[in-house]
């Protein structure tokens, strides 16, 4: 008897109290919502650190441009 298929097809979800083995068999371990392990922080090379500082500068400039555009748009919309 194919317990795996019968469990999945014939029983409503609320009845899955007897066995969840089939879920463990079907899903990969890190697909289980409660079982994910964190990868941890990536070690950043010097190049990527420089890139991130560039991104920080970019974000600051981006915020300035957006505020400026909001200011321009405010006057156009008036």
């Amino acid at each position: 008897m194919n317990t795996l298929n019968n469990t999945a097809e014939e029983l409503p979800i609320s009845s899955y109290t007897k066995s969840t083995e089939w879920v463990h068999e079907v899903l990969e371990s890190d697909q289980l919502s409660d079982a994910k392990q964190h990868y941890g922080r990536r070690r950043l090379s010097r190049g990527i650190l420089v890139l991130f500082w560039g991104l920080r500068v970019y974000v600051a400039v981006m915020i300035f441009l957006v505020v400026l555009q909001i200011w321009n748009a405010f006057h156009v919309a008036k």
């Binding site: 899955y16 409660d34 990536r42 321009n72 919309a77």
Partner: protein, 450 residues
């Protein structure tokens, strides 16, 4: 975190309602794959790619394509639009691999690998940009249904109720299939294009000659190119497709189908986009000034050339573009929120388990809907700034995408290699530069030649 845990026999990892629903879907894939029914496997696995591409053909995009057709007719922009979808495929394919290999969403990976600051920045930036974009989607819904005389309040509230109903299925598979059935109506612009009777030989010639360019290379032409490039891939697309890939339960074994799904989406979306350009070429040929047209204006202006049927289809297409984008964009906000705050974030979550996720999704759509209905709300103001925010927010998102997809610690054998990195980096750099340029010239328009 889990509201309805199911205890496994040996007391090991708890299994949630979300896990059980996802496992059910995966069991179907496994069964058909074992039986060699490739067509069923493909049917089961398509979804995120098609939805993200057709979601990107949102209200403002379709209006942009309509404006392009009305301003430039058949010529340069037909092959150019096709090229933009090729670039979109290159970028979006990376999100499929990321999601399938790591089983984590985009915001989740940024948060885990690069820290809290960048994780929360990515999420906040996305949610804010999405909120403003959602306003433009509800404007498109209002415009589309306004053609049929539907009062704005009824069309916007009706669209919001529809979004809530679809979300309430609490089942990723059901949600996906319902939205796909809406999204396919993006092809409504194809019969409108046929009714516009474009000259086939001119259409074919434009793909070989990339011309003509009506009016020559002007500041307006450059701006339209930059805005089209900048709108090719927007941040929500990266977050949505990767998270939906994870929510759907794709694994590395499904990457090939994920690529097919993304390619299918790009082709369908490109066909719809090009059809929209062709649909409005009668306005170009008859020298109708459509520069200030809004959504429903196009439908009304097309009546003499494509008939009432064509105009009706155009308006319905606009409604579809707005509603599908509203659904997918609000979901991308909810995914990012759940991933960064470490809460359940799945369309398979029960209401009890995932109430913050559903609350963010519904709130995102609800706030945008309310804004559209407020009398004298600054909608023009929002429309003017949303493009700038979306294009300027793209570079950080796409830089993180490239860093993550090249991270061999998490990607293993699925990391970018030589050729994929070449195309990935080339497209990324091109999109970043175009986006920055567009953002700058929008804020400082005098920099462009008149």
């Amino acid at each position: 975190m889990s509201g309805h845990p199911f205890q496994s026999l040996d007391g090991s990892n708890r299994v949630t309602v979300e896990d059980v629903k996802r496992a059910r879907d995966r069991l179907q894939v496994r069964r058909h794959r074992s039986a060699g029914r490739w067509w069923m496997v493909l049917w089961l696995l398509v979804g995120p790619g098609i939805l993200v591409m057709l979601g990107e053909n949102d209200g403002p995009s379709m209006i942009s394509y309509a404006t392009t057709g009305a301003s430039y007719g058949i010529g340069f922009f037909l092959p150019f639009i096709a090229l933009t979808f090729v670039m979109a495929f290159v970028v979006q394919e990376m999100t499929v691999r990321l999601g399938a290999a790591t089983k984590r969403g985009h915001a989740e990976l940024i948060h885990e690998r690069f820290g809290r600051f960048w994780g929360f920045f990515a999420m906040a930036d996305l949610v804010l940009g999405n909120l403003l974009t959602l306003v433009t989607e509800f404007i498109a819904v209002r415009a589309g249904l306004g053609f049929f005389g539907v009062p704005p309040a009824l069309s916007v509230l009706g669209a919001f109720v529809l979004i809530v109903l679809i979300v309430s299925t609490q089942r990723y598979w059901t949600w996906e299939r319902i939205v796909l059935s809406f999204a396919i109506f993006n092809l409504l612009f194809v019969p409108v294009a046929i009714l516009a009777h474009p000259v086939s030989s001119e259409v074919v010639r434009s793909f070989f000659t990339w011309g003509p360019i009506a009016g020559g290379v002007t500041g307006g032409f450059i701006l339209l190119i930059m805005s089209n490039i900048g709108a090719t891939v927007t941040p929500w697309m990266l977050f949505f497709q990767q998270s939906a890939t994870v929510d759907k339960g794709l694994t590395p074994a499904d990457i090939r189908h994920g690529r097919i799904d993304t390619a299918l989406g790009a082709v369908i979306a490109a066909v719809a986009a090009i059809a929209t350009v062709l649909a409005t070429t009668p306005l170009f040929l008859h020298h109708i000034d459509a520069s200030n047209f809004e959504g429903a204006d196009f439908a009304k202006a097309l009546v003499p050339y494509v008939g009432n049927v064509g105009a009706t289809l155009f308006a319905l297409g606009l409604f579809e573009a707005g509603i599908v984008a509203a659904i997918t964009i609000s979901l991308s906000s909810a995914y990012a929120f759940g991933e960064v705050t470490n809460r359940p974030h799945s369309m398979n979550s029960s209401l009890r388990e995932g109430w913050p996720f559903y609350a963010v999704l519904i709130a995102a759509a609800g706030i945008a809907a309310v804004l559209v209905l407020i009398p004298n709300a600054p909608l023009v103001f929002i429309t003017l700034i949303v493009n700038v925010i979306a294009t300027l927010a793209m570079p950080p998102a796409i830089v993180f995408l490239l860093l993550l997809v090249n991270d061999r610690e998490i990607m293993g054998e699925y990391a970018n290699r030589g050729l994929s990195n070449f195309f990935g980096i080339a497209v990324t750099v091109f999109l970043i530069l175009a986006g920055i340029f567009y953002g700058i010239v929008t804020v400082f328009p005098h920099l462009l030649p008149s």
